[in-house]
Symmetry: C2
Amino acid sequence: MNRSIALLAPLCLGLGLTLPVFAQEDEFQTVITPAFSPVTWERLINAEDEPENWMMYSGTLDSQRYSRLDQIDKSNVAELEMKWSYQIPVIDRAETVPTVVDGIMFITEAPSNLTAVDARTGRVYWRYDHELPDDLRICCGRNNRGVAILGETLFMSTLDAHLVAIDARTGNVLWDTEVADYEAGYSKTAAPLIVKDKVVTGIAGGEFGIRGFIDAYDPASGELEWRTYAIPGSGEPGNDSWSGDSWKTGGAATWLTGSYDPDLNLIYWGTGNPGPDWNGDVRLGDNLYSDSALALDGDTGEIAWHFQFTPHDVHDYDSIQVPILADIEYQGSTRKVMMWANRNAFFYTIDRVTGEFLEGDAYASQTWAQGLDPNGRPIRVPGMAPTYEGILVSPPIVGATNWYSPGYSQQTGLFYVTSFDGEQEFFKRDEDYEEGERFTGGGGRYNQPMDAFHSSIRAINPATAQIEWEFPIMPRSSAGITTTAGGIVFTGSADGYFFALDAATGEELWHISLGARVHAAPMTYAVDGKQFVTIASGNVVYTFGLKDN
Amino acid sequence: MNRSIALLAPLCLGLGLTLPVFAQEDEFQTVITPAFSPVTWERLINAEDEPENWMMYSGTLDSQRYSRLDQIDKSNVAELEMKWSYQIPVIDRAETVPTVVDGIMFITEAPSNLTAVDARTGRVYWRYDHELPDDLRICCGRNNRGVAILGETLFMSTLDAHLVAIDARTGNVLWDTEVADYEAGYSKTAAPLIVKDKVVTGIAGGEFGIRGFIDAYDPASGELEWRTYAIPGSGEPGNDSWSGDSWKTGGAATWLTGSYDPDLNLIYWGTGNPGPDWNGDVRLGDNLYSDSALALDGDTGEIAWHFQFTPHDVHDYDSIQVPILADIEYQGSTRKVMMWANRNAFFYTIDRVTGEFLEGDAYASQTWAQGLDPNGRPIRVPGMAPTYEGILVSPPIVGATNWYSPGYSQQTGLFYVTSFDGEQEFFKRDEDYEEGERFTGGGGRYNQPMDAFHSSIRAINPATAQIEWEFPIMPRSSAGITTTAGGIVFTGSADGYFFALDAATGEELWHISLGARVHAAPMTYAVDGKQFVTIASGNVVYTFGLKDN
């Protein structure tokens, strides 16, 4: 279950040196990471102040993915060169965003493994292999998106719906908690979020008729501290937004990572599609809190407010995007907002204190709604629900965007999102729920080749919800975004490019071909005063730096 | 069986462009390579004169792996940076050496696939997937080492012991010939060698009691032109070097790629271990022509001479190394020689006209022979044959070197080899031959951790068989070597480094960490006047060039 391994060892340079030599393929040797300062909650709150580290999935608690590092800037980004690569020994979708603390990088790997490497060189310290059962219920790929860290402990989700705590120095397991029963369709792929003294984490399985929830665990013991269901139980407010017993298998998975505002003590977390995805006939009503943003009390998990993007969704428009928090100038005053480019093709600016809808507009092609009403509720185009025969709707099931991280730049005040302009034929079917089986009530098919469509990086002004610039990329992209104080937007493409854009104009500044799809988001860090940028492509994690560094 | 695919497409740069977009994961589109000049036999003979291309496994017919390209030299090699990477979508041992013709690169992939990419960018033109049966007999990994090209046709070995001809422009199969019956233990992994108007190719399966041979095929039809068995048949000279019927299952596989001298019209090809590997009791005698170099007539395949490195081998000391041909100054005159660093830990300089032994000495740790006699035959240390209980012998089964390509520099006159100083306990067992089953008669075990040993790059003077310099690398390396007119030796290491040494001194000039074992040999080429160096590491093919190129 846990094994420490040194796949990669220092090269013995020069004649006659007798450095320690390392493992053949089937031999392993424990290597402990160098000492690092424990990652206190204080450090996490102020993560922006130590941009040399990337201490959580979205970089900072506000999930802006904006780094203050500016050594790599618009003037020199074209000189970036690969400093090292690390090859994940399993090919699957690498959706990992590494975490870096004091020169040590933690990389999650398909299916549910974790490796610590030297962030300067990519050389491996240890690997944790999580043993998995053979009969997993996975909707969309065997992957893992990242870890959380608190103190000297890493927290990782696993595909069998466990949360494991791992000693960041050694790779040894400290505890392993079953969050939910994988045989009932639950799984976990997202990085947890540290909130004060708790590990907050969601659950996947929206295509298996689960009932979504957000949990908080004691980092020392792995004991559950609180659980907030994303679907209100019988007798609770909102439960009547589900016809009959449909709430019990209503999905609303919470399968990505949320954000946190320490001043408001509110956790922001998205919820997924109602289940079954494409047949809404069996779950009449708004289906709260599917396809919603939830604001939860940071101590109790109690829901402070909710904002439902797509009431009674029948198109699989999960709202599990990462909420980006920022204080922006809005109509003459500074406003604490949450920005959200939704899978449903609308962008929203929401007051994150109250949940009040401020601005919203479509940022990608869509045919399902006439627009948003003054409360941000979509005004439906009639007759766009899936039929038995199939009906053409935009955006398609994969969405105008999806789980891949958007970014926000404090320099430009713009919000950046990988968006897709596509369409698909949606159809429904009748389907009975059976525990642990897929429960989707339909599906989709493309009636044009995918190359009829393309993606774009779009920069949106959150004060107006209008697009400032766009950079088209082909084909449909599923890469996340990182912005820096160097004035750069870093992202990738499905056809294997990693590239840098001018955050102000969208002008392309640099690109390199890595040879396999970029599913992940970039991140940036520094060691010994040298800035690096890291991206996973295919099964490889590449790190770039400036020539002279 | 054959599908053309564009995994990677040009990035659409800038606003509003409508370049063609490409495939989602499950969609494919045929892309044809740009035109290139057909690779005539004349071009292959003079391959050295067009160093911008790398038109066969070992670069040139003499297999020196010496390139006249000198844009990358000792003064600037430290500025190398990755220009692109291409990810082979299957993880196995990538032992591929790409072929480059006029800016198009052909990459063989595990298990038996082939992809054409743009050598400037790594972008895919097409892929050929060879369908394989489920019950392959493979001793040592599902890999493929490279292709041969003649005209506009590529020739590739496959694990099911076929030879396939593929249209280099489209990836379409032209013919597919069964060379031998994989169910009887035959397989193929090596790049064929073009000799005039024939495709010359060997066979693998030495651990399955096969009978090795070297074949020549008609490139147009795939018809067998001649077959020369590496074990003489009943009544033929040499057959009496096998007791009883043991020659019928005697191995002597021919599982790597040979060399050719156009002036002498001789093909040079190595043969593997006699079978069963470790129990010689059942095959008394010298076991000709196992563990030998064979010189074959280029038109008929007739054996002109042979040189057996290890008579009656009981340690699996395959002699399938690539023969390097050069004309060297030897004792006051120019001599046409063949140089050979053998798995058995001895280096040999042999007159390639006659097969006469000129020089030889141990180049790595060994305990099995007291030395070589004046004819180059080993003088055995008594009692070193494997026993039922096990006996410690050096080199171990993996050898002092193995299949990975050595190199030779025309500038330094030195021969370069990745060598290993190790030891292992060898044991034998009684085993009956059964068709298609392993037939090895024993095995080996390490009684020290592998990190008690290490590899070195050794530079050997072929006129004296003495080591001029060495560069230690850890742990045991299985990377090949390429030398250039820039005065550089390029090679890699098991712990994922790709690096450059000064060919004259062994001084380390540059290295980069690629994150997975280098099993392959580098190669170099140029496009549009820019020199590149390519190496496979893990499942990734990396191409490096100078900053300003």
